[in-house]
Symmetry: none
Subunit: 226 residues, 2 copies
DNA sequence: AGTGTTTAACCTAAATTAACCTTAAATCAA
DNA sequence: TTGATTTAAGGTTAATTTAGGTTAAACACT
């Protein structure tokens, strides 16, 4: 199932670009251009995460956030703020499941923050759901399944372990040795070859989404860019 | 490496339970029972995160936090407050890398907050300076890519490290030894030759933009004119 | 028999080492 | 004190080594 984003933005040109860009990464985007519409849209679509411009007509992003939080205290929210916004105001909201990005921002940055926040909230529910979002894929650790919109791929135990370790360390370097120790318990020659084999498999599974890359850092480990 | 927590708590019974509980979750805990000792312990152990009871003998948690922040403005701090504490005071500190928890609290809650704060601050560090502009080039450190308008060149780990060091010191002198120590960890003869090899490569990559020059200062180091 | 996992053989690319070349600085000769 | 000579630092290119990747076959569990 796609991750739903409520996106509140009143600049039509920027809004269009960001919306399409997010959709091309596999997100479902509900966009509103007015603060008043935000709460209604929230109730109708129950998004997984909100991306709110702070400056909105009729009701600003913070006010909207406060109202949404009353309905769902745990929902992650990303604020988009102009350079001129005072820090204090912004910082007050920068806690728990919140984050904020200064305009102008790169799509890269927005997507990383969204993924990070989704991941954080999912980690809280770890025992319950065991679902990981990776690009346009979803991994159900308890079911050993990898889904890509329509398709479902069964994962083996090793494959699932490896995906879990990589996604826990997304956008940072994991050492080869740590992976070997965590999965096989020792980093002997054969297990090392073995890890190579599984890396090849995962790269094959994730190849449909070009925003994902498992990069090798030779002599060090891997960097899972998400 | 274990995450280190500085834990300031004067109630011995509660302190013991929380300390052991955190340790059983894989944290390393340095515990102090007096506000005065907090700063010393901070300096000695350089913890990754602080958990401070607000009511402490000799120096309260807020005062201690302020002093620690002077040494490290980015360190995340969780305050533990009794029910009676006024909200206003607490809220003033609820910003940036701070969070607070009302006593009595569950261990679950404490651990979730600690993990969230650690995650947030770590993510910030990975996102901040990932794109470097150098002349007409852009370097995406997280993707290990160097782009020049149309063309994209994949960088190896060593190449990226070297570009990062040079660009961090653009228009000033970096010593050869510093580079060697930072990348290879020692400045032996062979690594020194090695550095020469990578310098040749970088000069080749940057040769399209004549405004850029990696100048050698013999016997000293390099000067990256940008 | 049919997965999942390990071993193996062969391949590719990055990092290191090596050999030889260039140049700046230091020394020396007039 | 200037230009020639020496010397050491660094540059260049290529060969070698090593880490890791790919594919397929062997093995081990149900």
């Amino acid at each position: 199932m796609k991750t739903k984003i409520l996106y509140a933005e009143d600049e039509p040109f920027l809004g269009k670009i960001v919306k399409e860009s997010l959709e091309s990464r596999g997100f479902e985007v509900i966009m509103v251009t007015d603060g008043k519409d935000g709460l209604v849209a929230y109730g109708q679509h129950k998004p997984d995460i909100c991306v709110l411009d702070v400056m909105l007509p009729n009701k600003d992003g913070f006010k909207l956030a406060t109202e949404i939080r009353q309905l769902n205290p745990a929902i992650p929210i990303v604020f988009l703020t102009a350079k001129t916004q005072t820090d204090d105001l912004v910082k007050g909201f920068q806690s728990g499941g919140n984050d904020y990005i200064r305009k102008p921002f790169s799509m890269e940055e927005l997507i990383i923050r969204i993924n990070n926040l989704l991941n954080l909230t999912q980690q809280k529910n770890t025992n319950v759901a065991n679902v990981i979002n990776i690009g346009k894929y979803e991994v159900f650790l308890n079911k050993y399944e990898l889904t890509n919109q329509n398709k479902t791929k069964k994962l083996s135990h090793r494959e699932a372990e490896l995906i879990k370790i990589l996604s826990e360390n997304r956008n940072s370097i994991v050492s080869r040795k740590d992976i070997l120790m965590q999965i096989w318990g020792d980093d002997s020659y054969f297990n090392s070859r073995n890890l190579d084999v599984y890396m090849t498999k995962l790269r094959e599974y994730f190849k449909d989404d070009p925003s994902l890359e498992i990069m090798t850092i030779k002599g060090v480990g891997y960097f899972f860019r998400v």
